[in-house]
Amino acid sequence: MFAGYETLITTIALGAILAYSFHVVLMAGQLSLGQAGFASLAAYVATLVVPTEPLFGSLSPVIVGLPVGAAVGAAAAFLVGMPVLRLRGVFLAIGTIAFGEMVRVFMNNAEWTNGALGMRVEKWVTFDFAWIVVAVLAYLFWRLGPSRTGRAFAAVREDELAASSMGVNVVRTRMLSFTASGAIAGVYGVMFAYFYGRITPATFDFGLTVDGLITAVLGGYLVFFGPILGSGFLTAVPEIQDAVGLEAGWIHPLVTGLLLLAVILFLPGGLSTIFNRLRRVPAAPDPGRTPPDGLDPLPDRGTEIARLRGLGKAYGAVQAVRDIDLEIRSGEVLGVIGPNGAGKTTLVNMISGLEAPTSGEGEVLGVRLAATGGAHRFAQAGVSRTFQHSKLFDRLTVLDNVLVGTHAVSKSTYLRRLLWLPSARRDERRALALAWAQLERVGLADRANLRPGALSYGDQRRLEIARALAAHPTLLILDEPAAGMNHVEAAELSGLIRGLAEDGVTVLFIEHNVKMVLDTCTRLVVLNFGEVIAEGDPSEVAADPAVVEAYLGTEDIEDGEVEHV
């Protein structure tokens, strides 16, 4: 079928495998560029284990090399990842490049690799073998996309803080993508060695890394076959130039460079943009469906769900919050007010696990505040929150944003999706139903397929609430949810919060709109200079002279509309 083009088309497969090792880290937003090093390690180790004769008469011996290569690549990535994954962005990129170069120099100087002279092996990788490997990878990524793990990758890419507040274990997700990238790079290294029959340390240089990155970005992250698109494009361009009779030489890299530039500038999301509309738009579930089952019941009304004792937080010499004693009981709507800089956000950041206190102790839904380990543990225990400045996942649809919210209350589906188990489909449907229910609850169901950027400011706040609700929270924390809303919207929001309380959800919310706070909450806490200055029944607290004092000179408390900055 491809007579005369087998090698050419096989190089597309190899390029795609390399690009997949970048695709997986780009999906999770990690600019990791150590793939050349992982590939090199895997390729050289594989030469030690791959038999020199076909297995069972005719089976390609590289089959032995692939798992070994993947394991070597994954193990190396894991070990490198432990120190370097603390880094972000360009720092991560340069750190991993440094690792790749270190491997290259090492291989060049080692005796067993034959140094710069390289090694020659049999060419065991054939056309169909290479494409089967690509097909397997494509399958793995096809099933990954709309799974819980795939959504976690996307969430980490878009906003790590918001992702962890939705129960995603960010450290683990980043390490997962990094290790997977190492494994795929390892597979590439082995495939490379046994396709070309030759490896030298210089094969796996910085140029290879750049090629892989270009292929992955060019193909795009929007569809699972992006790397194949990218590799196909880059392989086809020189061939087409040949076919139209452009003379070999400088014109070729010039045209390739210009085309690459054009694609990057005019197709955000790379070539996958062209195929993006092929993605199925999930339809709203039947209106008459039953509510999602299997959600844990919320604790009985009045149960203590949080207890803080002498809690404080200092940033260097600045004491943002001091000596806070507070209990939160199930079913209440607890309002927190206070002037700017009073420590409100610091307090809720501690309660939701984003920041560790520097003094005192506390426990929220059984999770100790002082413990390190990230916000995702609080989310999994039933704390869910919104942020003062919306932290939505900008490149996901409204529905996908809310689906990330279900992370804490759903089970991993990826492995079961690979095997097409019906239970995975059931779990995904359940998550979808949960997400739709929240969209309907906040009135955004008709905008499910838009991007957050296309929503009005008030709708963005509502979307964030829907996302938080999708986690089926015991304790919902809202940080200035009404900021930027008009009176009508604020009143609607107030109704929504009271409705949630009736359903048994405990709500803690910070708000500057004092009128709305008084209308909504069942208990009020006032902070000033990091301390609780009043606490109790809203109307009584509002009349407290200390509270009036705190607000004096800024706003008249009875008037309601206070600054929204």
Binding site: I132, A202, G249
Partner: protein
């Protein structure tokens, strides 16, 4: 690690699937085209059909400095051969971009799609190790014109080379330098990251041992290094009779320049990569006294050399170098092999390339044996007054 275990499982599944991907042996295509064989023999040979000749050179990226000369030398030769009549050649030239995949893909195109009679190239030995196994299994004769690494002709009976292996060039230049300079103690500097120079380094140390010359400084550097003063500093600390250098042209110029700048006056001896007129131009006075072993010299009075140089200079407005001369010779060798039986089929070229004896070329008398290896007397030159002079 969820994904890790799953990709492990998936790889196992891939292994099962891959039972379909069996190792297949593609036999050499030995069918011959009668239109490619003609009447007459030797100079009288006439073939009606145009003979397709493929060439793969590195015309862009790192090795383009060599590839461009090779392209020009080869084009000049094909032009001359076509003008001579009897056989018309069509040259199909591919650029491998100095990459392994580019080279492999180019070989596939020439072998399977263009169905050329023979292939000249690639530029670098590193790529030849991969592409020549393809040419071998497809049964296409391939002639290397710059692939000097050890083990190239051993790839198979379809693989030949017209480029004197590095060890032969060095084996000539080191004794010649020893005789001229009375070398007892030398410094050896080599590029340890490049396979060509690393291979040459092995040859150099063997040859020095055979000649009982002591290596007092042994330093290396990387292909893209720009500063060699630290290595040269070590040379400066010792008394050496000569510095033996194994470097690509990119590093040769700065290295020699920095050596002279730092006050190293010992003669510098090098191999094939030194053999370029660009070197003299870039180094100026610093080039004086360099000793270069190679396959060709502009100063050689070999048959047709003066004509070659003037034709090349007229056509391309620059002087040829060894790469151009070897590529030029390569075309004549293939022409010779075709004319032997007046047959441009792959099998016939293969049979006759291995029987070329004392062909009178611009490189001097040149022979290729059945194993594909070239035999030719290397030339040792010294740069005096800004020109290559035969030592």
């Amino acid at each position: 690690m969820r994904l890790k275990t799953s990709s492990g499982a998936a790889l196992a599944a891939a292994a099962l699937l891959a039972t379909a991907a069996c190792v297949s042996e593609t036999g050499a295509d030995t069918t011959s085209d009668s239109a490619l064989s003609g009447a007459g023999a030797g100079e009288e040979c006439t073939i009606d059909e145009t003979v397709k000749l493929g060439a793969v050179f590195s015309l862009t990226e790192a090795a383009a400095f060599a590839g461009e000369y090779q392209k020009q030398g080869l084009e000049l030769a094909v032009e001359e051969l076509n003008a001579a009549g009897g056989i018309q050649y069509e040259l199909i030239l591919e650029d491998d971009g100095t990459t392994l995949d580019g080279s492999t893909v180019a070989f596939e195109k020439l072998i399977n799609r263009d169905e050329v009679s023979a292939i000249i190239g690639p530029t670098l030995s590193g790529m030849a190790f991969s592409t020549y196994t393809d040419a071998q299994s497809a049964g296409v004769p391939a002639l290397g014109v710059s692939t000097t690494a050890e083990g190239i002709p051993e790839i198979g009976d379809y693989i030949f080379r017209a480029s004197v292996p590095e060890q032969v060039a060095l084996a000539a230049s080191i004794p010649a330098a020893k005789a001229t300079l009375d070398m007892q103690k030398v410094a050896v500097l080599h590029d340890s990251a490049d396979e060509f120079t690393a291979s040459a380094y092995n040859t150099i140390t063997d040859e020095l041992r055979d000649q009982n010359i002591e290596i007092v400084v042994d330093e290396s550097f990387g292909t893209t290094d720009t500063d060699f003063s630290a290595q040269l500093g070590k040379v400066l600390e010792e008394e050496v009779d000569a510095v033996i250098l194994s470097a690509l042209p990119g590093a040769t110029v700065p290295l020699v320049k920095q050596a002279r700048d730092l006050g190293i006056t010992a003669p510098i001896v090098g191999g094939n990569a030194f053999n370029s007129p660009v070197l003299v131009g870039a180094l100026g006075d610093a080039a004086e006294g360099l000793i270069v072993g190679g396959a060709w010299s502009a100063a050689s009075e070999t048959t047709g050399n003066a004509e070659f140089i003037s034709a090349f200079t007229a056509k391309y407005d620059r002087e040829p170098d060894q790469f151009a001369a070897q590529a030029y010779t390569g075309a004549y060798l293939i022409d010779q092999a075709i004319r032997a039986d007046c047959d441009a089929n792959r099998e016939s070229i293969k049979d006759n390339l291995g029987q070329i004896l004392e062909f009178d070329s611009i490189l001097g008398p040149i022979s290729i044996d059945e194993g594909g290896e070239v035999t030719q007397t290397p030339v040792v030159q010294i740069i005096r007054d800004g020109a290559f002079t035969i030592l």
